[in-house]
């Protein structure tokens, strides 16, 4: 890899003092339909290369697309959830460019006739002044097909430079994609990076609730490109923008936009001009590098796709789909707050932790809401933070939490052991029961084993035992503590205390 000169960056506070940022976000969502957009091939993630292909998605001579109605349904539901208008009539278009991962050397997409347009999404954003709701306006949501995936092999970096050869997997080619494009996001000021992150996060939650996509940024089923430009003030015309690609985590979205604001500000303050170009975000080094400039930008020669007939969704169908939408976020928040009996601040922290859906799912799986919130906001939120991943991406499910709770209720484990069980689940050691068995975490329930430990503790602290016998029941704590220590916490403290007092012939106070 060639060394990259780190460009100058302006301190963030200075950027905000001198410039007004404008953003535009393009999010690509892979739908979770069982079959591809234009053929009957399966869409399983991670299948052996080129096993989910046919003449259509391989673009063989003569093959023709046939539209997957489920794909259109997903697009309309997404459009409706984003408060968009749904086109009465629209067409697909061909986006022409040569690239080996495009079987036909054109992508079937939509151009000037998107299926959904003119929407908005209200996004709660955590700011220094508390949580503020920011309205992000949606330009359009359109349908297209995904491309294949090229891997460059034999080189050190996995990039095309230096690779010995490249291979293409067409399993992904033809998977339905929805591209959601915002209108220019203005007025976010210093909160711009946070607004972008909150928007994508909210969008992800919304898509998950719609059950239209796996929305896994790590697997590429949700991908984000961020356009950023700076202008002198809110009255000035828009500045020259750059488009940062390959931003594949919520954290990176925030960082990449912040970085691009600082980089552009330094260029402008130094009397230079921002180059209109695509830039690539590097997760490892936290910086963007220059990609294709506008001069090299391709002319895609869009024209209406003649192999597909226009789509004219009937108003009845659209209304049927509207009826399947999940509750709007604001109404849902109010309802859950009421049900859980939490105040605004507590609810904000649940939302900010990205825990709402997880808590809801945990309750639905059988836990009570206090316990569900306790685990997701406590132990698990800390772990996610330490590992730098999103809560939803931890290797634990709501059902696992319910199992843990059930074991506590049965007296098999206590709260302290439960933390160890959860650590085991996160480490991939299996279900709660399996972790308990493998790590030997049961509360010691066998009286004779406990009594032996109690006798040992009494023998070690005869003076304390005397005090207890003399009626100083409060002194029992020291012996109980010693027993708990000896049993490595696997005993039920209340039971140890009862056994101890019984053993010494003292009645509890």
């Amino acid at each position: 890899m060639t060394t990259m000169n780190s460009p100058a960056l302006m301190p963030y506070d200075d950027v905000i003092a001198q410039f007004d940022p404008v953003m535009g976000l393009e999010v690509h969502v892979e739908l979770n339909t069982k079959t591809k957009m234009f053929c009957g091939c399966a869409t399983e993630f991670g299948a052996a290369p080129n096993t989910q292909v046919c003449p259509v998605c391989l673009g063989l001579p003569g093959a023709l697309p046939a539209l997957n109605r489920k794909g259109v349904e997903g697009a309309i539901r997404i459009g409706l959830a984003l408060n968009c208008e749904i086109a009465q009539w629209c067409r697909f278009a061909r986006k022409n460019y040569f690239y080996p991962d495009m079987p036909k050397n054109f992508q079937t997409s939509q151009y000037d006739e998107p299926i959904a347009f003119n929407g908005w999404l209200d996004v709660p954003v955590e700011t220094d002044e508390g949580v503020q709701v920011f309205r992000v306006e949606i330009e359009r949501a359109h349908m297209e097909e995904d491309t294949g995936k090229t891997s460059h092999l034999g080189g050190a970096t996995g990039r095309i430079q230096g690779a010995d050869y490249s291979v293409v997997d067409y399993n992904r080619a033809g998977i339905p994609l929805i591209e959601i494009v915002t209108k220019p996001i203005v007025g976010a000021g210093k909160n711009a990076p946070a607004v972008a992150r909150a928007y994508v996060s909210m969008l992800r939650d919304l898509l998950r609730a719609l059950d239209v996509s796996d929305v896994r940024m790590d697997q590429g089923s949700l991908r984000c490109d961020a356009n950023v430009s700076l202008r002198a003030s809110a009255d000035s015309p828009f500045g020259t923008r750059t488009e940062t690609k390959n931003v594949n985590s919520l954290r990176s979205i925030e960082k990449a936009i912040r970085y691009e604001m600082q980089r552009q500000a330094a260029v402008l303050a130094g009397g230079g001009q921002v180059t209109q170009e695509t830039r690539h975000w590097h997760e490892d080094t936290n910086l963007t590098t220059s990609g294709r400039s506008k001069e090299e930008a391709e002319d895609y020669r869009y024209f209406p796709e003649p192999d597909l007939v226009p789509i004219a969704p009937s108003r009845e169908w659209v209304e049927q789909l509207r009826a399947t939408l999940p509750e709007p976020p604001a109404a849902r928040r109010a309802r859950l707050q009421e049900q859980w009996g939490v105040n605004d601040t507590e609810m904000d922290s649940i939302i900010n932790a990205g825990a709402v859906d997880l808590v809801v799912a945990t309750i639905a799986a059988g836990a009570d809401h206090t316990a569900a919130r306790k685990w997701w906001l406590g132990e698990l939120a800390r772990t996610a933070n330490d590992q730098g991943v999103d809560l939803a991406d931890l290797a634990i499910t709501p059902a696992d939490i319910v199992d843990v709770e059930r074991l506590i209720a049965a007296g098999t484990i206590n709260d302290k052991l439960a933390r160890e069980v959860i650590a085991g689940i996160l480490a991939g050691e299996g279900t709660a029961e399996q972790v308990v068995a493998r790590r030997g975490l049961q509360i010691v329930g066998d009286d004779s084993a406990l009594l032996a430990a109690i006798e040992q503790a009494i023998a070690e602290q005869p003076d304390v035992a005397e005090k207890i016998r003399g009626g100083k029941v409060a002194a029992a704590g020291a012996v109980v503590g010693a027993v708990m220590k000896a049993t490595r916490g696997q005993a039920d403290a209340a039971k140890v205390r009862a056994l101890l007092l019984a053993h010494l012939g003292v009645e509890d106070a």
């Binding site: 003449p55 391989l58 673009g59 063989l60 001579p61 003569g62 093959a63 023709l64 697309p65 046939a66 539209l67 061909r94 022409n96 040569f98 080996p100 079987p103 036909k104 050397n105 054109f106 490249s166 293409v168 002319d299 020669r301 869009y302 024209f303 003649p306 192999d307 597909l308 007939v309």
Partner: protein, 497 residues
């Protein structure tokens, strides 16, 4: 020469069904004929002897088992090389696909196989169906059986020539601007371009998706109708495929009286630029239609004058995109992959080496017409003309039941005569292109020989979309009347090969 090869498809099918002759005998007679004459005609790019005999044998076994056979079971056919056939070389007349064997059957191919039609092989064509003479085939031209120094029409010259040379009684063509009808006209055979969407395009290697339509070719109207019935009908693999029931074209082909039929003669098709003998035979055919009871009306379609210009923007635009997939990466030709060159370089070299001049010309034209800044002026304007032409047809069909014109402005010209003059070549399709732009059906039937050169002249019959049966009615009645006049089919007048 076996007398089996001069029989009609209908006659052969009934002889096979009755057991008078076996399908294997019929197939062998045609394979023998191919071996005898195709060295001179070059109608076929690939002859599938083994497959054809196996298919014929299967038909004979089914008959022996007492199964009821389809209307064309055991009848041999030439399949245009634009249509995919599993395991059989399919080149589209291009070096780009030399040696490529499709892993799947086109819907048309599948329907033919299911109907027991015996596919003899793949017929020659202009490269990727671009041309009107079959001279643009990368594998050498097909020659017109009427005169081996002349062209058999194009792009489907192989399909028309194999009929005229008695190498097959049936053939499949595809028609984007006249590639079924013009070859039929210049070889004295019958060719039909059905309504757009009537026959599935799945597995037809696309030239221009919004114009391409596969159709039946034969030596008489009834045979084309029988073949039409086999290949037409809805196909879920083709989104543009019609869901209508297939019209009863076989019954329509039996029409002998045109009383009450209103027939429009298109004013814009037939004047200047049309050969005198073509016009003479056309006028006589119109007179024959009158004596069959039809009422003749002159109709004007003013926007037909712009059809050629619009066509040569829409077709190249769509073909520039459709042919982008031929890049040497996944199948077919690959040139210059020396281990040092980039993907773009290999793609460029492959395309430069694999495509002929006419294909390259149209890809460049189309790429230009779709470019940013030119789209509205070129592609956009052409689409508007297309709408106006559709309106001309609608207005005309409000007044008449069908329209007629000469199919082509001239009889078969000499090989090489127009090869260096693309515009002169394009003018061959001036009368056939409007139907492709409008998606309406068209048929060409032979109406005699031009007195000046003794070569066949074709008459075009055009009907409204989804009313293909009207062409068969008019074509069937006129054909019967002319046959009665001539005493023998027109092909009997051709010099024996």
């Amino acid at each position: 020469m076996s007398e089996l090869i001069t029989k009609t498809a209908a006659e052969l099918a009934s002889a096979i069904a009755s057991g008078a002759v076996s399908a294997v005998e019929v197939a062998q007679a045609h394979l023998d004929r191919i071996a005898e004459v195709d060295g001179r005609v070059h109608a076929f790019l690939h002859v599938d002897t083994e497959g054809a005999l196996a298919a014929a044998k299967a038909v004979d076994s089914r008959r022996a088992a007492g199964e009821r056979l389809g209307a064309l079971a055991g009848v041999p056919l030439g399949l245009k090389d634009v249509m995919c056939m599993e395991g059989i070389p399919t080149t589209c007349g291009s070096k780009m696909l030399e040696g490529w064997r499709p892993p799947y059957d086109a819907t048309v191919t599948r329907r033919l196989k299911d109907a027991g039609v015996v596919i003899l092989g793949k017929t020659n064509m202009d490269e990727f169906a671009m041309g009107s003479s079959t001279e643009h085939s990368a594998y050498g031209p097909t020659r017109n059986p009427w005169d081996l120094e002349r062209i058999p029409g194009g792009s489907g010259g192989g399909s028309s020539a194999c009929l005229a040379a008695y190498e097959a009684p049936l053939a499949i063509g595809t028609d984007t601007g006249g590639s079924i009808r013009q070859p039929a006209a210049v070889t004295g055979t019958v060719g039909v371009k059905p309504t757009y969407g009537a026959v599935s395009r799945y597995g037809l290697i696309a030239l221009a998706s919004s114009l391409d339509q596969a159709g039946p070719c034969a030596r008489n109207v009834l045979d084309t109708a029988l073949l039409h019935s086999v290949i037409a009908g809805h196909d879920p693999h083709d989104s543009t495929s019609l869901t209508d029931a297939v019209p009863d074209v076989v019954a329509a082909a039996g029409t002998r009286d045109l009383t009450g039929m209103r027939i429009g003669v298109v004013k814009e098709l037939g004047g200047e630029g049309y050969q005198a003998g073509v016009r003479q035979r056309f006028d006589e055919a119109v007179a024959a239609l009158t004596s069959l009871g039809a009422e003749i009306v002159e109709v004007s379609c003013p926007h037909f004058d712009y059809a050629l210009a619009a066509y040569y923007l829409i077709l190249p635009s769509e073909c520039s995109s459709n042919l982008a997939k031929f890049d040497g990466m996944r199948y077919g030709l690959r040139v210059g992959d020396d281990g040092e060159s980039s993907v773009e370089q290999v793609m460029g070299r492959t395309r430069a080496a694999g495509f002929g001049e006419e294909v390259t010309r149209r890809i460049i034209l189309g790429t230009y017409a779709l470019s940013a800044g030119y789209y509205d002026a070129f592609y956009g304007s052409a689409q508007k003309i297309r709408t106006l032409i559709q309106r001309d047809f609608n207005d005309a069909f409000a007044k008449v039941d069908v329209l007629v014109s000469p199919t082509a402005p001239t009889t078969a010209f000499k090989l090489g005569e127009k090869l260096d003059d693309p515009l002169a070549m394009y003018l061959n399709d001036i009368a056939t292109i409007p139907a492709n732009l409008a998606g309406t059906p068209g048929m060409s039937i032979p109406i005699g020989l031009a007195p000046e050169d003794n070569l066949p002249v074709g008459l075009q019959i055009m009907a409204p979309a989804r009313a293909d049966e009207r062409m068969y009615a008019v074509g069937g009645a006129l054909e019967a009347a002319l046959l009665a006049q001539w005493g023998a089919p027109i092909l009997s007048k051709a010099v024996a090969l």
